[in-house]
């Protein structure tokens, strides 16, 4: 999170992402819903600004949750 004085380079991570990012759990379908779009895709880091490390955890958790039927593969 480099908050530069000019404000241009500030990376703003949504509070929820940063709160949850460190401890996402594939069992917790309700909270994982925050990391997928309305189509069911995993929200890209480009949009959510989560760290690469957290994004990997999120991706892993979402994919596991999908396999267990806790999250949909697609929402049509």
């Amino acid at each position: 999170m480099a908050a530069d004085k000019d404000g241009f380079r500030r990376r703003k991570v949504s509070k929820l992402y940063s709160d949850l990012g460190g401890k996402v759990d594939y069992r917790d379908g309700a909270n994982l819903r925050y990391f997928i779009t309305e189509r069911g895709k995993i929200v890209p880091r480009r949009i959510s600004k989560v760290s690469a490390k957290d994004q990997r955890k999120i991706t892993r958790a979402v994919k596991r949750a999908r396999a267990l039927g806790l999250l949909p593969f697609v929402i049509s």
Binding site: R60, R66, I75
Partner: protein, 178 residues
């Protein structure tokens, strides 16, 4: 003795009886015992609505088992689950490696009342699917335990994880989240 900590979540067909679930779990206990593992917990989530149908079933009975084991245990357990046609799907996650077997205490098994009414379906309103949510929390949050499993993953009917894990957060640390 150093063992590996695993968690296998099983989805059982929704139309089976409580006894059938119990007999499947007895099989799990048997396999774990035979392979020198240590069962820590069997956790019933109850009958839940699936995000998509599995073999035409809109719901499934979720049971999570948490155990320590050695090499062949996971394979043998999964082979047994695969043979049971009441099991729709299962997923094994490696939670932590090199755990001292005495470091995990066995939790008491609570037999669920199988005839309890089904858990209400998770709401399906579109509001839950916010791509970029605000700070508002909605929905209950279950406290995740041991959340830092680190493994590759293949989706499918026989999902199994076999990669190295990083150190798992302790249950207490994760529970403080709530």
């Amino acid at each position: 003795m150093l063992m590996t900590e695993y968690e296998t979540t099983v989805i059982v067909r929704p139309d089976v009886t409580g006894e059938q679930v119990e007999s499947a779990l007895d099989r799990v206990r048997e396999v774990i015992a035979k392979q020198g593992g240590k069962l820590i917990e069997i956790d019933h989530w109850g009958k839940k609505k699936l995000a998509y149908p599995m073999q035409k079933h809109p719901r499934g009975i979720y049971v999570r088992t948490h155990y320590l084991g050695l090499g062949g245990l996971v394979g043998e357990l999964e082979r047994n689950l695969r043979l049971n046609e009441n099991v729709l799907r299962f997923l094994t996650v490696k939670m932590e490696e090199r755990v001292e077997s005495d470091a995990r205490q066995e939790k008491e098994y609570v037999v669920p009342s199988y005839d309890e009414p089904d858990e209400p379906d998770e709401p399906e309103d579109e509001a839950e699917f916010d791509a970029l949510p605000g700070d508002g929390e909605e929905g209950e949050s279950r406290a995740p335990r041991g959340d830092s499993e680190d493994a590759n993953e293949t989706a499918g009917d026989t999902v199994n994880d076999k990669a190295s894990g990083e150190e798992a957060a302790t249950a207490e640390a994760a529970e403080s989240k709530e």
